[in-house]
Symmetry: D2
Subunit: 310 residues, 4 copies
């Protein structure tokens, strides 16, 4: 039986028809009407209709950034799309006449990886999505963890530095201010500003303002400032994982998101820091730290599978 998974991003709505092995058999893509949040449901309906045209589809799973309520129907709050208590499930299912399940996008990704990607064979998984911010999703005893109100696994907003950096969430010292892609870029920019000699390659590549791709590219060319910036987020990731292991004792971590494509510059160091900072180390097994395998399609595959298992 086929289901459709949809991933509503800030710039595009990606969708795929997924079979029960987690294989995407057809795909579609449309721009997100970011300035018309009320039109998002219509856009989702369009891509679904396009994909469902000559196939029998059982249900649709939709991943969206934001707090999704415990009934998996309503997006209570979405930072990017200005949604407040948006009845997304009702809107979409009304338009397409199929069962719809809404899920937080990081949860959908975690589920995709857990079932068909890096988490195969593991029952206690902490998935960490390192992009501009940090998101997360948990699988415990083989089931997606949702928390009481559907808002669990907001990993980027654990405080790691008291009196630390202001965060977009309104709090202070959040993990994503130190361990995300934005943190990587901020660190590289700062080193380049105060010690430009260590950032000659990076400054040469960047021209004006330094962005993430340039930090990665400069790291590849041996730029000292870029490698230092990666080392900084590597350590903060490892420390945060040690904290999560103290709380959740997972069998494995999966690291995904855009920054994970530059894993060669930080993941080994993250593993070392994790092992060194784990409470009770020496008296307990070490959780594995794996790279995500499904890339950008994890969310589509996960949402589709959650729709199947609804």
């Amino acid at each position: 039986m086929l289901t459709i998974g949809v991933d509503i991003g800030g710039t595009k709505v990606a969708a795929g028809v997924v079979d029960d092995d987690g294989t995407i058999v057809a795909q579609a893509l449309k721009p997100t009407p970011a300035d018309r949040p009320d039109q998002v449901a219509a856009t989702v309906a369009e891509v679904v209709r396009e994909l469902a045209q000559d196939r029998e589809i059982e249900a649709v799973g939709v991943g969206a950034a934001g707090f999704v309520d415990e009934t998996r129907s309503i997006v209570r709050f979405a930072p990017n799309l200005a949604w407040r208590e948006e009845p997304l499930q009702k809107k979409i299912s009304g338009l397409i006449g199929l069962p719809v399940v809404i899920e937080n996008d990081a949860n959908a990704m975690a589920w995709g990886e857990a079932r068909f990607g890096a988490g195969r064979g593991q029952s206690h998984i902490v998935c960490i999505t390192v992009g501009t911010g940090i998101g997360g999703g948990f699988v415990f005893d083989g089931k997606l963890f949702r928390g009481h109100w559907g808002m669990g696994a907001e990993l980027g907003h654990m405080q790691v530095v008291p009196h630390g950096r202001l965060c977009g969430c309104g709090q202070i010292g959040c993990w994503e201010q130190y361990a995300s892609g934005n943190a990587l870029v901020a660190e590289a920019r700062h080193i380049a500003a105060v010690q430009p000699k260590r950032a000659e390659i990076l400054l040469g590549l960047a021209g004006g303002t330094i962005e993430g791709e340039e930090v990665t590219e400069a790291a590849r060319l041996g730029d000292e400032a870029s490698l230092l910036a990666f080392a900084s987020i590597a350590d903060w990731l490892g420390q945060g994982m040690a904290d999560l292991a103290a709380v959740l004792d997972p069998g494995c971590f999966i690291v995904g998101g855009g920054v994970s494509r530059a894993a060669e510059f930080f993941l080994d160091r993250t593993r070392e820091t994790f092992a060194r900072r784990l409470t009770g180390r020496g008296h307990r097994p070490l959780a594995e730290i794996r790279l995500a395998e499904l890339g950008a399609s994890a969310g589509v595959v996960g949402a589709a599978d959650l729709a199947r298992l609804r």
Copy 2:
């Protein structure tokens, strides 16, 4: 049907016969043979035999401090009793001829409170035991959370201060260095040392070295240093709960342990700090923060119930 719950503490082994309403119908107590860890199983067997003498007992649940393995049979590591890979379940069941379940003591307490105490009616619970250190236990979807290797919920060892205070676990900046009973006493001692005028009541009560009971008693009498020390742990508790809510999104927190008996001096402030520091506040419901209800018997009641549900 009756089961027996046993709580192996650092100084005493407490046990109780518990019915399926969570009521203790009989109790027994023996000193822990702390310097003979190999004799603990025998002591447990003694108290169980004493209680089981004229009753039909279905099973025995045992709570012990330390890492209990995922099969709930072996204590991998116990900080107080020098156990390493201790096959406690086999030893005790061999001596008493009844089914035995071993559980981490903080987990047993959390389960007792969740089923028969402050957590009744709640399905997603984070229980925090604030004693000399900080322990914890989770109930998710109505089930005790154990992690992959049985070592979850070691809440006291999340790092909250980078480059912070050395912890007994070998790490740095752990939560229990800032929010536990020991932290309360350390803070009160420090204030009394550097600003003795704010600690006149406390210093009058304490004579020599300041201990926890004196801080509580002095707070009751209006001692400024003691109230400041309580305010400090109140804030650290609230901040840590905000971090846990970001990760776990529980419906309620339960605060137990010895320090919770002085709740009047910190719990309201903890609630305020929690509400102020919660990521996404204003866009999500606030988890309740409740006081534990079962006191010292939570562990016995919880262990007994876990034995029943084994």
Copy 3:
């Protein structure tokens, strides 16, 4: 009697003929040959010759960024001009045939303000120059303080945050990383990045990359992020002054440098923080915090006067 003061900046060499009241009676300006550090002495000689053409000049004082040795002859190390052990006094006096005194530029500015600007009537002065970084100069008992090797008053490089931000000097957590013009801009950029709604005016003004003038202009228009950024450097300035008062007990502070032109957005708050953070407050007089009065010409006036008093 007339002397000439010269201020060697990163982009221009400014010079003035100064009388013994500290009045500039004639001025000249040339671009700094920044990529030809060996030509700087020749440029200084040119402006001096131009100004001395039809006047009797007694001596020349030269202010330069960098470590000036205790004999006031040699620039040991200049961060901007790639000088190492540069015998500047000998070179210049050889070219112009007049007595020459070399001084650190922040010292020259402090001396100018102390004698003819905001410090008139004060004998113990701490002058703080808040520009892209932070420099300083001291007057004690009416005399310029130079330290043992001529390198005192490097105020920007006191550590104020352990494990803090990397500094251009190679150390960590230096004051100028938190209280300078660069810190102001970094803070404003960060707030604008994570909480753009609070920075709408600033983002509107800046177009692309935010710079210092835009932060000041946005603050004038009530931009919240810009005002917060000023509040942040205000507090760090006040705290650092409290530290300096503990060490140096000055009668007054003088705040100069480019950032001081936006004093309306931070100086009152700096005064409050200083007063609150001063050790022994309540048992000691409060040093005044005054704005510099001579603006960009303080260095020229000060260097000229130091030449007179050589």
Copy 4:
């Protein structure tokens, strides 16, 4: 010509007749009437009379803890003796009929060391007294530095940790909370409490509460916790000296006070940390760090000499 130096301590008033080589030719000692601050002048007069009986004395110098005013006549505020605006000079000179000079005790010690102890031959000296707290005194250009109101060199109260430990002075994060004898003991106690295995020697020596002498003695016997505690204050001392060198550029530091008697356990590490943390290192000479030579008599010798030079 002979002068008398007096050192008013918290428990005793020590005095000595000193010749112009800084040699003490006679001594006397009386208990400080600590609970009768108004009687201190009388006690000073007694010891002076005793010493002056059969000698010709030119003047008397008195060192006292607290803020001494700029006329060196009045103790504005003394933390230990409950003095407020105490006209000590007038009182004492009225009783003994000799010229009297009052000086802050740490300044008197610094002067003694500078003239006759470790500072001989040096003209820019920062003297750091590491006892239960941290005090200091400066000699610049061969003269004692007093600040504008006589309150300079309160080194223990520079802030080194924002949001750090409460200090007796009412502020937060002061240097003496991290680098003094009290800090040493607090650190040793903390390590012994959380990791007792590393403190077995220390705990064996201390019996009940750990005090400073036991930390030193245990360090001598190789106790790990005690050595770690010394390493901690060593690093904080070195960092603070690097900050002071950035501001004051002294030719040498002199380390005195009770803790300096255990220099073998921290001074080399302090020198290394200082050299590593100094701004501009590599481009400037390194100030020497010397041990004080006069021990407890530095204050008496210094006060006597200041009286001679009055």
